[in-house]
Symmetry: C2
Subunit: 304 residues, 2 copies
């Protein structure tokens, strides 16, 4: 019998080739659903919806299982796994995509396991809006739906994206996406505009500068945990969002206060994630380490 996960995550699962100023790693475990599920699983049972190819290494599937990710929704299809490669510049805040190969994602049509359909929490991680919509359509009556997106879909699938946005409770975008999506130049103006498009909450992710929530209770600012060394920022936003949703699913209740609390966990888990390549740091991360860093972050931003 499959235990129903309280959180379902749909997104990409792939093999990333990442180059930073100090190193290059080929075919490491990546993808928005990979980072998000791994982060969420610290807090709540998370079910992954996605697809991998015949070449997807068994050790990566083992990683997911070890972290407590439910793989009933992960299909293995003939063909090659989704691949992405990118380069980070010296300041690590800018990256260039070198290549994206959709491979098995090109004609993926997610079919949700029956046990997933009644999950109360749904995270539509970054992937084509049509796939996000298809998953959302298969859910019975999710209590809280969060969606993420990226510039690519704003450019190539704006109508589908805008339709999707109307149906989600929380939309998370990064700074440039928020401005790109709305035509506004200020982050506050862009977030206000997005709120008028449907979601009750908007989170703008600012990378190393933290994140901002705009909701009925106003603005809330969460700093990123200041790090001496960042090795691989890939997936930081997915890790943030995954931990946030996992924590929210664990809290069971959804309130603005719980969302704020969950964002702090998102920020903390993401700060661990970027300390090493791929999911390496998350694989050996403990809840005690998360709590200790959360306390530390909380002290750093307590205004006297």
């Amino acid at each position: 019998m499959v235990r129903a996960p309280s959180l379902v995550v749909v997104g990409s699962v792939g093999l990333d080739t990442v180059e930073t100023p100090s190193a290059r790693r080929a075919d490491q475990l990546g993808g928005s659903a990979s980072y998000a599920c791994a982060a969420a699983a610290f807090f709540a049972p998370a079910g992954m919806v996605g697809v991998v190819g015949a070449d997807f290494p068994a050790r990566f599937t083992a990683h997911f299982r070890r972290m407590g990710v439910d793989l009933a929704g992960l299909r293995r299809a003939p063909g090659k796994t989704f691949r992405w490669s990118g380069v980070y510049e010296r300041d690590m805040n800018r990256r260039r995509t070198l290549s994206t190969e959709l491979n098995v994602f090109a004609d993926f049509s997610p079919e949700m396991p029956a046990a997933y359909r009644s999950a109360p929490f749904l995270f539509l991680a970054n992937i084509a809006p049509s796939l996000q919509m298809r998953v959302l359509d298969q859910m019975a009556a999710p209590r809280f739906v969060m969606a993420d997106t990226m510039d690519l879909w704003i450019e190539t699938a704006r109508p589908e994206l805008m339709r999707l946005i109307r149906r989600v409770d929380l939309l998370t975008v990064n700074e440039s996406e928020a401005c790109h999506l709305t035509g506004k130049t200020s982050l506050v103006a862009a977030a206000s505009e997005l709120l008028r498009r449907g979601p009750r909450y908007i989170i703008v992710k600012k990378g190393e500068h933290g994140s901002l929530l705009m909701g009925p209770d106003g603005l809330f600012l969460v700093p990123a945990f200041p790090l001496e060394t960042v090795r691989d920022p890939t997936g930081a936003g997915d890790t943030f969002a995954g931990a946030l949703m996992g924590r929210l699913a664990a809290a069971r209740r959804v309130s603005e206060k719980e969302i704020r609390r969950a964002m702090v966990y998102g920020s903390v888990v993401a700060s661990f994630g970027v300390e090493e390549f791929s999911l390496t740091r998350l694989l050996r991360l403990t809840l005690a380490e998360i709590e200790a860093r959360r306390d530390s972050l909380s002290r750093m931003c307590r205004l006297p």
Copy 2:
């Protein structure tokens, strides 16, 4: 009889020509000492040390007086006032300097009024390190000295700057300057390195992303107040630092907690300053508005 100011500020006083995506303003009141003194004066009597030319408009002097800035240390010399011009790009975080004319600052040698020499607080705002040093040398025994600098001096006057840094309590730099000065790429690593060069405290200014204090009690993060409209970011760092020092001078005691509190005021006053060109917004700003926005910022970053 001249009342001794509790805070002395040395820096540039000049005429700025500023171009933003939406407007261009020629020969507006600017300069690091102008912004810093105007911001400090909300909290404590601030004395300005600087020089202007024969062309410096009397209405600008009147602005300073109206804000309670002591001008006993502001010399009027034959010749032209210091001029700077720059352009802000679309995102307002990047600016290009078009021209800098030192004019009367070219051979300025600050002579401090007797009443200034015993001031307990000294802010060496951005100006040539040799001038900052000359002012510091004339002080009796300041209780707390803060210095700011800029890329230009890191490139052209590094030895003087490093000598100065050894003698200050608090050094404030922006992100790129911190990295430029230390050769480090991470902000935390750069701040740690700067702490080894003399100051007890380092503040790294991150513009719209707030600021970071590193001191004996660890890190402290202050966000910038999120604004819908930024009209002119010129002088934001000087305003931040001026308000910080004014507030510290008003508190009389220097402790890390007081510095943290003062940074919050710095962040708040600077957020008002950038809402309009030059010192326009500061000129009609009230303490009640400052306190209200401080409360609001405090609520926005209270972690649940």
